[in-house]
Symmetry: C2
Subunit: 338 residues, 2 copies
DNA sequence: TTGAAAGCGTTACCAC
DNA sequence: GTGGTAACGCTTTCAA
């Protein structure tokens, strides 16, 4: 019944139909006060009849902002990045911002280019766990502003939302030491990971403070397979407890241990890191340092929004992971027993 | 040393520096032939010195396209949607397109509005597992074109990349029947899920074809908790095998069964659906119908790209899930034994 | 081959 | 309060 133009209605169409100027239509559509009530009415109904919606691209051009931010992650398949991505997306959506994803696919050499490129299309950028060096990061950041960082310690001039990996691993170590463990192994993350380096620092400090405690570092990685492959080395190490770089590695290790007939936690205790949703559902359920990634994402957004609004961003947040004690850790087996 | 303007260089700046017109700069930057070699040279070096990059927004306005697509998912926390999102993102990135994510947070009422909104900012849209009714979907789709669908059966005029859930559940049923199971339960997904309804059809057809086989349908859901909560009902049902709506539900169930001291698969066999990366690492590893979500995402992109290029999209793809036999399924326990 | 100028669809400044 | 109109930064006819 109603007339339909094939092309989308534009502001001039609405203006013509409402017998006002485009300027007035714009004012009405954007809720600017000071438009006579009857004109508002005419414009609104004209817009409604035409199904008019302003072109976001045209608005972006004149306004100089896109209402979109970009989020760069090293790997979209990693649950912890998925959680922060989700946290950011929801928080940003609540404020009327959209998010563009950029996946660097764990390729460090791509990061700077990808970040620049993503940033050009958006109003701001969040860098999740960038793998590039501190020097590269520092050099890049000015060109990226407004920008915030997650999963990575303080960087001058960049608001940060991160976790205390150092403290988290220390808390795990405390938990294990309390259970009588003295010989431990740490299944290391990739050297390019800043959060891995923080864990290493935490371990070193803890060992220095606790004579009689030893922690061997076993090169490992970030995924199931790598944790699984480390099973043999863990057994040979003679350690009574293993700290995995993250929950994925822990799950791989759990699997290898189970297959080898090694009882967890009776013979070997295992801890993860992150507390991804799956950690609660492993067999046995995984003791891990809980990092609220969704909250980190939300906090990252708060800082970005402040930057976008020209305000002072809240101070850096460093959430302290809390040890979630579950069934994968228990008292150390008697010395000498294997 | 080098001069720096605080604002970004624009096409006119490059033109001035190279002593050519903006039109020529545009032609050079876009690789249009028919520009004298020396001018190309001058423009290129001027652009380089100024660090010039064309404004994507301005280009979008004049070109009428953004080089961006939107992907709407019901829940970013669900591994299978994460996988298709990842597949789409990578495939699109390879073709120079970016992706915007829209999370409907499992709220059906939000879907139409969110889809429209997301679409307006992009050149095209992919709808992952939309929960809205067929009628709503059919009504909405014309306003969304170009659009493709995943996780959902054929819809007139919309290229689709989906899996044969009906066949997948049938294959699982075959596997279980072959192991001697006769009394089964299906832990149902949400009624609004189209793929759940396909599974139901597959079950009905299979039961009709196999007298002596019974499958009870237990209302359940999509997540760990729901699978966990169903543990009690599964035990009481007397079934020797349980088919979970997806891997998450299966993991929850596995956990409940383990806690209750029910041996899997000796007393009860359990199957999942999707074969998310975690399925390989549960205890016992989960038998499941493998859906290559990454590939589905990639195929969705191929269709979208064809649409964007004004070409005929490839025919709908319906991948056939393959049963991944792992340790969570085994021979049915003897009749009467409980 | 090159340049001038007309858009692309808005918003916002400046008059009236 | 309302309406012209100049941007926003680029691409692309149309002439030369």
């Amino acid at each position: 019944m109603r007339s339909r133009t094939s092309a989308r209605a534009q502001i001039t169409d609405v203006a013509a139909r409402a017998r006002v100027s485009p300027a007035t239509v714009s004012r009405v559509m954007n809720g600017h006060a000071s438009v006579a009530a009857d004109l508002v009415e005419r414009v609104l109904s004209a817009a409604d009849e035409l199904g008019y919606r302003a072109s976001p691209v045209a608005r972006s051009l004149v306004l100089g902002r896109t209402q979109t931010i970009a989020v760069m992650v090293p790997d979209m398949a990693n649950p912890s990045f998925q959680e922060v991505l989700r946290g950011i997306t929801r928080a940003a959506a609540a404020d009327g911002y959209r998010v563009l994803v950029a996946d660097s696919q764990e390729d460090v050499t791509q990061e700077p280019g990808l970040a620049r490129e993503a940033r050009r299309h958006c109003d701001a950028l969040v860098l999740c766990a960038p793998r590039m060096s501190d020097a590269e990061l520092a050099a890049l950041v000015p060109a990226l502003a407004p920008v915030v960082l997650t999963h990575r310690g303080p960087t001058p001039g960049v608001p940060t939302s991160s976790a205390d990996y150092r403290g988290g691993i220390a808390a795990l170590l405390d938990h294990l030491a309390g259970l009588g463990h003295r010989r431990l192994v740490y299944l290391a993350g990739p050297p390019s990971s800043a959060s891995h380096r923080r864990r290493l620092e935490g371990i070193a400090a803890h060992v220095a403070d606790h004579p009689g405690l030893s922690v061997d570092v076993l090169p490992c990685g970030v995924g199931f397979e790598e944790g699984y492959a480390a099973g043999e080395a863990v057994r040979r190490s003679g350690a009574t407890a293993a700290l995995a770089f993250n929950d994925l590695v822990a799950m791989g290790l759990l699997s290898a241990l189970h297959e080898a007939g090694v009882a967890v936690p009776e013979e070997v205790s295992v801890t993860g890191f992150d507390d991804i949703p799956f950690a609660r559902w492993t067999t046995p359920p995984l003791t891990t340092a809980a990092v609220p990634h969704g909250d980190l994402g939300q906090e990252a957004w708060r800082r970005l929004r402040a930057l976008l609004d020209g305000e002072e961003p809240p101070p850096d947040v460093l959430v302290h992971p809390e040890v979630q004690v579950r069934a994968s850790t228990g008292p150390a087996r008697a010395e000498g027993a294997a």
